[in-house]
């Protein structure tokens, strides 16, 4: 029990902090002294520097007044718009996730899910057909599936494919690209392929399926203790209301990042980067990451670029956007080991790029 009193790491940190402050004051004084010497030795240069600083300060104040305040207002409007839009999907996601936790026995889930990697990944990639929400809802459910003991390949493929392979998204893509039906098929096919491949490969990096919760679900697995249905429903509410905070923080941060990125990195500047088969696909991948739009409407956004971008770039946007964006990256980071997240994001980007560039070269740039 002696170690109770020993606070090695905090003490070291405190010492470092104290050392830092001990040096800060002399360093500041030295800086002031040097500045004073510089002014005395070079009055003309000092005057120039002062004028330059004044100009910067005036510019800074002008920028603040002219740009930053409206930019902040725009960021707030974009952030709230995005947050209000994704909130119902997040809430649905955590409710389904909690219901799975409380009402579905892990043994039954394991019995339903194919165990072999390739089949499991295919099963996961198609699971979105039963759960038509965007990534904000899919990731909490995928996370729960992992904890309940589903094969990692199935859960990862679901997290990647679910946001796009679902009835709502397929219908909206059809409405948007009805004049080029092949792009609807290409979106489904490419998403399946990427979700299957990336899910299968990245699953090897998931070492501990029971990710955040060391004590797995068995403590209150359905069917284990005899519990009434109302009691289980209460537990669904309890778990869901706790999980909404667990996952919601990443949604808030993701929406904030996406809103800020839209203001700080104008779309027009991205579009000016280039129109070649490779660069245009890269630009659309960056745009998908940046806009972080809900998968149910991204087809309309892609359509708005139909006149400016080759079909391969549009397809890359449609395939990559629902899988990986700023929100989903943060949510995935809270769900999986970082190397698994990096593998998923990297593979999704690489395969989307390859498919997009390939299509650009094959189609000759026309829809």
């Amino acid at each position: 029990m002696e170690r109770v009193a020993v606070t090695g790491q905090p003490r070291a940190r405190r010492w470092a902090r104290q050392q830092g402050w001990r040096w800060a004051l002399p360093a500041l004084l030295l800086l002031l002294l040097l500045a004073q010497l510089f002014v005395l030795a070079n009055p003309l240069a000092a005057r120039r520097l002062q004028l330059q600083l004044d100009t910067w300060w005036i510019n800074l104040r002008w920028t603040w007044a002219a740009d930053i305040v409206p930019a902040l207002q725009t960021t707030a409007t974009l952030f709230l718009g995005l947050f209000i839009e994704v909130l119902p999907f997040l809430l649905l996601g955590v409710l389904v996730s909690a219901a799975l936790q409380e009402l579905l026995a892990p043994a039954r889930l394991r019995a339903w899910t194919p165990r072999q990697g390739p089949l499991a990944a295919l099963f996961g990639a198609c699971l979105g057909l039963l759960f038509p929400v965007c990534e904000c809802g899919v990731i909490p459910v995928g996370r729960r599936l992992l904890r309940l003991g589903a094969p990692p390949a199935a859960a990862l493929a679901f997290m990647l494919g679910g946001p796009a392979i679902n009835p709502v998204v397929i219908a909206s893509t059809w409405v948007a690209f009805g004049f080029s039906p092949w792009i609807v098929g290409a979106r489904i096919g490419a998403t399946l392929l990427i979700a299957w491949t990336a899910g299968l490969l990245a699953a090897r990096l998931v070492r501990h399926p029971a990710v955040a919760s060391p004590a797995s679900a068995d403590c209150c697995a359905p069917g284990a203790p005899a519990e009434s249905l109302p009691s289980r429903l209460n537990r669904v509410l309890e778990t869901a209301s706790a999980e909404v905070f667990e996952m919601g923080r990443y949604v808030v941060l993701g929406c904030l990042l996406a809103a800020a990125a839209q203001v700080l990195i104008p779309q027009a500047s991205l579009l000016q980067l280039g129109q070649g088969p490779v660069v245009s696909t890269l630009v659309m991948l960056a745009l998908a990451l940046l806009i972080s739009a809900c998968s149910s409407v991204d087809a309309f956004i892609a359509l708005s670029f139909a006149g400016s971008f080759a079909p391969g770039a549009l397809l890359a946007f449609l395939v990559f956007g629902p899988m990986i964006d700023l929100k989903s990256l943060l949510m995935l980071d809270a769900t999986l080991e970082r190397r698994a997240v990096a593998a998923l994001a990297g593979l999704a980007a690489l395969l989307s790029l390859l498919i997009g560039v390939g299509l650009n070269l094959l189609s000759g740039g026309t829809l």
């Binding site: 409206p70 947050f83 909690a98 004590a215 905070f245 808030v252 027009a268 972080s292 708005s304």
Partner: protein, 325 residues
């Protein structure tokens, strides 16, 4: 060591174990070393399985009381945030503010969250009377500070919604926003637009018609009556924006509107420059109705359309400021 340090170290160890850098037995041993003493001299540690604090009664470890005041307070705050968000959405819906963030056709999405938020908020409140039993970690174990941190993050949109008056996207948001109207509607809507009915075109119809028209001269002289907000042509927004893709900058201003498919994040700006003999001086973001006719002006070798205004009338902002594709 104090509780906060122990919990922080526990989370680090948990991450190391998840990353495969730490064997489960080494993890348990490391967690067993995370001990601290409270003011009453009791020795505390963290349960390696759940991360929950427990104290030693001399013979065995006893789990911490399930619902101390701090826990109730945290639950109350969480319930407040969830119910507050429901209230905010209801308030925005009632005041029409929801239409400043979402397309009118998607406003149901905002309302759809309300019953779910109330349900979950009540779930948190219910837990005040019947706290969750210790050792029921269906969500990641979190220390008190982590719990407050995530509550604060989810409270951020609530605070923003309450403190900042709801405002639509305005002239400043047109900077750098892409403009390509034809894609927003596909081909169907463009085919429905009739060249002899231009007085009923809104700015989006104009954008679609002009972008898709093989020969824009067929619209020369066509009557125009559109509503939108002002972006002065001399303003940085107009200079740095992408409105010039469609309309020639004039010495006057542009009348602009955003097209929102779902929420403000997917907004695209559409607009036309306005010129005329006696144009009033208008500041950015003033809502106006412009009546006149369309003319094609040559700028840098390209012919671009401009509204020649007969009448410019300030109007209040429409209840739904965004156009729908």
């Amino acid at each position: 060591m104090d509780r906060r340090t122990a919990e922080r170290r526990y989370r680090q160890l948990l991450q190391e174990r998840e990353a495969g850098q730490l064997e489960p037995s080494a993890f348990d041993a490391a967690v067993a070393d995370l001990l601290w003493r409270d003011r009453r001299g009791r020795i505390w540690s963290l349960d390696p399985a759940t991360g929950r604090p427990r104290w030693h009664d001399g013979q065995r470890w006893v789990a911490a009381a399930a619902s101390p005041w701090a826990m109730r307070r945290a639950r109350l705050a969480e319930a407040g945030v969830l119910l507050g968000l429901a209230g905010l959405l209801l308030g925005l819906w009632q005041s029409g503010g929801l239409l400043l963030y979402l397309n009118a056709g998607s406003a149901w999405l905002g309302l759809g969250s309300v019953p779910l938020l109330i349900l979950l908020g009540l779930g948190r409140l219910r837990g005040l009377r019947a706290p969750a039993p210790v050792g029921h970690p269906h969500v990641a174990p979190a220390g008190e500070s982590a719990r407050w941190y995530r509550t604060a993050l989810l409270a951020a949109p609530l605070a923003l919604g309450l403190l900042l008056p709801a405002r639509p996207l305005d002239a400043s948001a047109t900077v750098g926003r892409t403009f390509n109207a034809v894609g927003l509607v596909g081909r169907a809507r463009a085919d429905q637009l009739k060249a002899d009915d231009t007085a009923r075109f809104d700015l989006f119809d104009w954008a679609v018609a002009l972008t898709r028209a093989p020969d824009q001269t067929r619209f020369a002289g066509a009557p125009v009556a559109v509503e939108g907000f002002v972006v002065n042509d001399a303003s940085p927004q107009r200079q740095r924006g992408s409105l010039s893709e469609l309309s020639a900058p004039s010495s006057g201003f542009s009348v602009v509107r955003f097209v929102v498919t779902h929420c403000t994040a997917d907004a695209a700006a559409v607009g036309l420059s306005v010129t005329g003999a006696d144009l009033p001086a208008l500041t950015n973001d003033t809502w106006i109705r412009v009546e006149g006719h369309l003319e094609l002006q040559t700028l840098e070798g390209l012919r671009k359309p401009v509204i020649v205004a007969d009448r410019v009338q300030p109007i209040p902002m429409p209840a739904s400021p965004y156009l729908t594709p």
